[in-house]
């Protein structure tokens, strides 16, 4: 890991020396929070009215978990109902893993847990105690992209890019599992990743190239 920032702490906005991408991401995060408030005043007011909420929350304590995320060990405190996806995105600000449907139907949230591809939206963080999680952020070796990332770029394996982190995590697992021996097998074993833009033929080509390229995946 190049960065050793503690993402469990709130990140300062408009930090000096940040890369343009980061500034854009921060802006998006901020503005979407503002939009959410603007659009749902009723809900916000209602939530404030529910004073008993606090008492209920006290009865359901946070639980300590230790996870290794992208090679870095982290001791975290989570509510039992926190999914791995929400932990990654909301608490650790690892927003590479995408929330598509949040119901296990689209594959955008695919990560590796102990080397196996799973859906982070249907995994409780508390149930992964002691496990190793790899996200799209942990795939590259420093500035050197993973062969699958290179192949997706070369073969134009995406348009809007929203499903791409999930596609790539799934594709890496597909090759490692030995399920990339033919176009049909790739299609079958990649069927859990939906691409609304329809980049499927290019995704198959990218996976084939990595599979046949003989690089370490």
């Amino acid at each position: 890991m190049a960065e050793e920032k503690d993402f469990t702490q709130p990140q300062p906005e408009g930090e000096e020396g940040q890369r343009p991408n980061e500034a854009r991401r921060n802006f998006l995060k901020q503005s979407s929070i503002l939009t959410a408030f603007a659009l749902t005043p009723g809900v916000a007011v209602k939530a404030a009215d529910l004073k008993f909420e606090e008492k209920v929350a006290a009865a359901f304590e946070k639980v300590n978990v230790t996870l290794e995320i992208n090679g870095k060990k982290r001791k975290l405190s989570v509510e039992p109902r926190t999914t791995v996806l929400d932990l990654l995105r909301e608490q650790l600000h690892l927003t590479g893993t995408k929330k598509g449907c949040d119901y296990g139907q689209c594959g955008a949230c695919t990560v590796h847990v102990d080397g196996q591809r799973v859906l982070s939206c249907l995994s409780l963080a508390v149930m992964q105690d002691g496990k190793k999680i790899t996200t799209i952020e942990g795939l590259a070796d420093g500035d050197k992209l993973h062969p699958m990332q290179e192949a997706f770029i070369k073969h134009d394996g995406f348009q809007c890019g929203y499903c791409t982190p999930g596609q790539i995590m799934s594709a890496v697992a597909c090759v490692r599992e030995g399920h990339a021996d033919s176009d049909d097998e790739i299609r079958e074993f990649m069927s859990g990743n939906i691409c609304r833009c329809g980049a499927y033929p290019n995704i198959v080509n990218a996976i084939k190239e990595v599979k046949n390229g003989g690089q370490k995946v």
Partner: protein, 327 residues
Amino acid sequence: MNQFQYVRPTKNKAAIDTVAKEQTAMFIAGGTNLLDLMKRGIVVPEKLVDINKLPLRKIEKENGAVRIGALALNGEVAEDKLVMEKHPLLSQALNAGASAQLRNMATVGGNMLQRTRCPYFYDTALPCNKREPGTGCGALQGYNRMHAIFGHSDKCIAVHPSDMSVALVALDANVLVSGPKGDRKIPFSEFHRLPGDTPQIDTNLQKGELITAVEVPETAFTKNVNYLKIRDRASYAFALVSVAAALQIENNTIKDARLAMGGVAHKPWRLTDAEKALVGKPATEQTFRQAAEIAMRGAKAFEHNQYKLKLGPNTIVQALKNAAAAV
């Protein structure tokens, strides 16, 4: 998702005692269906008992059967050497279900306990006797394209979504359970229930009972088998109709047969009369067509699933042809 307490026992007894004693406690294993239901507020447990630390994941040979631990993952069972050798039909059915990611999470025990995917069950704004007994069945007069043609009642016409269970009922598997009153063995065909007047109850499992394993007796159905699943897209969709077919053929004569359907009833639907009609006959399309006709006796469709009356027998014939041709 509602808040809940979380415990992770390491002994079967501790897990069973907790769920048996506490009304709103539930087991969680893979969580692929339970968390989905909790997010929608359809199931609201106040305590989750994580059973993943229990020693229930082994796949082994035992007394003329393959014993598959309840926590074995769908993906690892599908690709297990012993399962592929002894029960290729089960392997095919598992690989036809869900996606690679979900098969890496979902357990064997959880697969058979998954709830229906009837849209009226999932939409909390609409009536559903399974979700909220007494509110009525939205599907009966509604959009019932995915629904049952066998064994339904005027209270519920939902179907059971599991592929694995269709193979297991065909293979005469047993479900091994441990509960507060001890251990018992449930024949797979008696594990799931028809809806009747109590569609809210899917299985004959009692409160606090924990599935520990499924036992699949060894048979000669190791070669001529086929699990054929017809769906709206080529992969990663629930079955419109599926068929598990297994044949024992000697000199082109069918010595024994197993046949079951998915996507057509509230439980995996074994077709014993059709099986009998196959035995002793030549393995020809004509034989298969006759068996398919027998299989469809008593089928009753609704406004939007009439197509299943035709798709059903055609799928049976094709699955039997595939099984007969398998080498």
